[in-house]
Symmetry: C2
Subunit: 112 residues, 2 copies
């Protein structure tokens, strides 16, 4: 069930700093590398690199305005990412439930 595309999304969203950046972009409704770095414990350059990563996987996109580069979350793409992530969780949940079911079956057959 795991594809290479999934891997890109996971690795994009797997980094704590990038997750917090997405949080900030969502709550503030966009931001630049400088404004984000002011609300994060990392430098502007680190933020810029992360923005590059998020841009490459399409989770954000930049709109240059004057000498600033304003980044915004691509909501559709983020929604898709959330769906991917939760689907992996769902798969694990299903397997866990199946294991429990099998365990119960064994219990029952042992009584018989």
């Amino acid at each position: 069930m795991s594809t290479a595309i999934d891997d890109e999304l996971w690795s994009a969203v797997g980094d704590p700093t990038r997750r917090r950046m997405l949080d900030l972009l969502l709550t503030n409704g966009g931001g630049t590398a400088t404004t984000l770095s002011q609300q994060l414990p990392v430098t502007r350059q680190a933020v810029a690199k992360h923005l590059g990563v998020l841009d490459r996987v399409g989770l954000v996109h930049a709109k240059p305005s004057g000498r600033e580069r304003l980044y915004e979350v691509d909501e559709a793409q983020l929604a898709r990412a959330v769906a991917q992530l939760s689907s992996v969780g769902a798969a694990w949940d299903a397997r866990l439930r199946r294991i429990k079911r099998i365990a119960e079956t064994i219990q029952r057959s042992r009584k018989a």
Copy 2:
């Protein structure tokens, strides 16, 4: 909303190889470093390191049997992890919905 504990879980489960290892351990009902490495495109040593990581965050635990080390998934812990992950997704979903709601409100007030 993001805690350091969350970060550990994410980074543990964020790696593609580790996710596939969890998949394999679930479907096969446990395994050793060698058996897992045979079903993965990486060496036994790489798998062993990952098993160490997963063990440290409590997602798996080893039971030595003879000269083998059999690893099994800690189901309760994995269930907890899945819950954590989906909660982040839920938070983003909520923010996305809230943004849409605000956008609609603006639309309406613009008409008035």
